[in-house]
């Protein structure tokens, strides 16, 4: 039995007076890819903002044996919880290389050069583009840059928000392939996706979210043909 790296129980969060997440439970175990799927507005991004400590939340959240709630975003980051935020959120006026260096911002282990090589091996295109301004690249390249930046931090848990958003299917396929490679290197990933089958093609387990609540969870093999997934997006036929 592998250990749990992220455990969430009874999480409530929202913006000001407007609650978005209700009593949410979630677990990510070491070495697995867990995906969280659901339509727009289901609360997926809010969940990630709560996990990375940008917005206040109540309930319990434990990361790698440590209480996550009292931490600030920078604290969560330095403990190895690294997010690829929705919309990439690159530093657009900095080069690809500089963005990646920001990922290695807190590292003092001397392995940065080696990480560069490893990440460039995963994203050869980023090596070609390393002197380019991140803001001037195509959407797919920006997504790669954002993932490369995150990997430079040597994360214990990589959280990816809407990786496929606005990208052409062929590029999504490329990114999924890379994700499989990353996983092979033993990284733990929480993948939040709108594109259900993209998420399912790489994940071990999945959660289905609807209006701020988890409505289904289980291994991909069980969920792939579960009508609840379809209903979460298109609604049940009356």
């Amino acid at each position: 039995m592998t250990k749990d790296i992220l455990t969430i129980k009874g999480l409530n969060a929202g913006y000001g007076a407007v609650p978005v997440l209700f009593d949410l439970d979630l677990t990510v175990r070491e070495g697995e890819i867990v995906s969280m799927v659901g339509s727009n507005g289901a609360g997926k991004t809010t969940l990630l903002r709560a996990i990375s400590r940008i917005i206040p939340a109540t309930g319990t959240m434990t990361f790698d044996g440590e209480d996550l709630l009292p931490l600030k975003p920078e604290g969560a980051f330095s403990r190895g919880l690294v997010q690829v935020p929705e919309g990439r959120q690159l530093f657009g006026h900095m080069t690809v290389e500089e963005n990646m260096m920001m990922g290695a911002n807190r590292r003092r282990d001397g392995g940065v050069a080696e990480s560069f090589e490893r990440v460039y091996a995963l994203f050869p295109k980023m090596k070609e583009r390393r002197r380019q301004l991140a803001g001037n690249m195509s959407g797919g390249e920006q997504q790669m840059c954002a993932m490369a930046r995150a990997l430079m931090a040597n994360p214990k848990l990589l959280v990816i928000d809407e990786m496929s958003l606005g990208l052409a299917p062929v590029i999504v396929d490329d990114l999924l392939a890379i994700l499989t490679d990353i996983r092979a290197q033993g990284l733990t990933v929480l993948l939040v996706e709108q594109d259900v089958f993209a998420a399912f093609s790489v994940a071990d387990r999945a959660y289905v979210m609807e209006t701020g609540r988890i409505v289904r969870e289980g291994p991909i093999s069980e969920l792939a043909n579960d009508p609840a997934v379809r209903d979460a997006y298109l609604g049940a036929e009356h």
């Binding site: 089958f197 209006t211 701020g212």
Partner: protein
């Protein structure tokens, strides 16, 4: 496959002919055409980033289309500024609700009554009276003197409706008014929208709660990557494999 013409009979309120909007080379909305008639509800769905809000912004006047034409009751309005479109009878709600926090619910709606179609009511008492009526209509009659920022989620939506309705619109653009509501509240809002039918208003409803769209739309239009991929009867559209794929993604094996 796609049908652009409205049902024959009622008068067409708004018509878009191949409208396109680009931002720095990226096409957000690509050659989309549609029309909405009086008392008709057009549901618009599509995954995140499909261009739905951009389209509303073109109709309301925040953006000007790069190509194509927007006709309101037969008049071309591409370059008409936002406030004048409001005077013509176009009202919208915003994805993020923005009540005027220091004002009461009544005052909020009064703003709508004071401006709006044909420049709105000129006198404050008349505007306040009109506002009161719409607050009753939307079910906020008991909360008219509450400050807007004390209202909870569903009541805020009602307030937003009341503000838009008080403008006396011919065309109502509803941008994700059900976001953040629980299923019971969604049903309440759906009922409210249905209740507005019959007042001669053309409605365009953007929604990601597909269940709601299905139950209230006369027609559904699906946008994906800025393009219209389907338009027609809700049940048929939602069964269209291309729509399902747009939402759920391609099945990979």
């Amino acid at each position: 496959m796609t049908q652009t013409a409205a049902k024959p009979g009622p008068k067409t309120v708004i018509e878009a002919r191949g409208i396109t909007k680009r931002f720095q080379g990226l096409v957000s909305v690509n050659a989309v055409s549609f029309s909405i008639a009086e008392d008709e509800i057009l549901g618009v769905i599509g995954p995140n980033g499909a261009g739905k809000t951009t389209m509303v912004n073109m109709l309301s006047g925040t953006y000007t289309p790069n190509e194509g034409e927007i006709l309101f009751e037969g008049t071309r309005i591409n370059e008409v500024p936002t406030f004048r479109r409001a005077h013509m009878g176009i009202a919208r709600t915003f994805q993020v609700m923005k009540p005027f926090p220091g004002m009461t619910a009544l005052e909020n709606v009064t703003v709508g009554a004071l401006f709006g179609r044909d420049g709105g009511e000129k006198s404050m008492p008349a505007a306040r009276e009109r506002a009161r009526e719409w607050l009753e209509f939307t079910g906020l009659g008991h909360r008219i003197d509450n400050p807007a920022d004390s209202l909870g989620g569903p009541d805020r939506k009602r307030l937003e409706f009341a503000k838009a309705l008080a403008m006396g619109p011919r065309l109502l653009l509803l941008d994700e008014v059900m976001a953040g509501l629980n299923p019971v509240e969604v049903d309440e809002v759906v009922d409210l929208i249905k209740k507005m039918r019959g007042k001669g208003i053309a409605m365009l409803v953007i929604e990601h709660v597909v269940k709601a769209i299905r139950s209230l739309s006369d027609r559904v239009m699906v946008l994906h990557h800025g393009e219209k991929i389907a338009d027609g009867d809700p049940t048929a559209v939602l069964a269209d494999p291309r729509v399902i794929e747009a939402y759920l993604g391609k099945r990979r094996t």
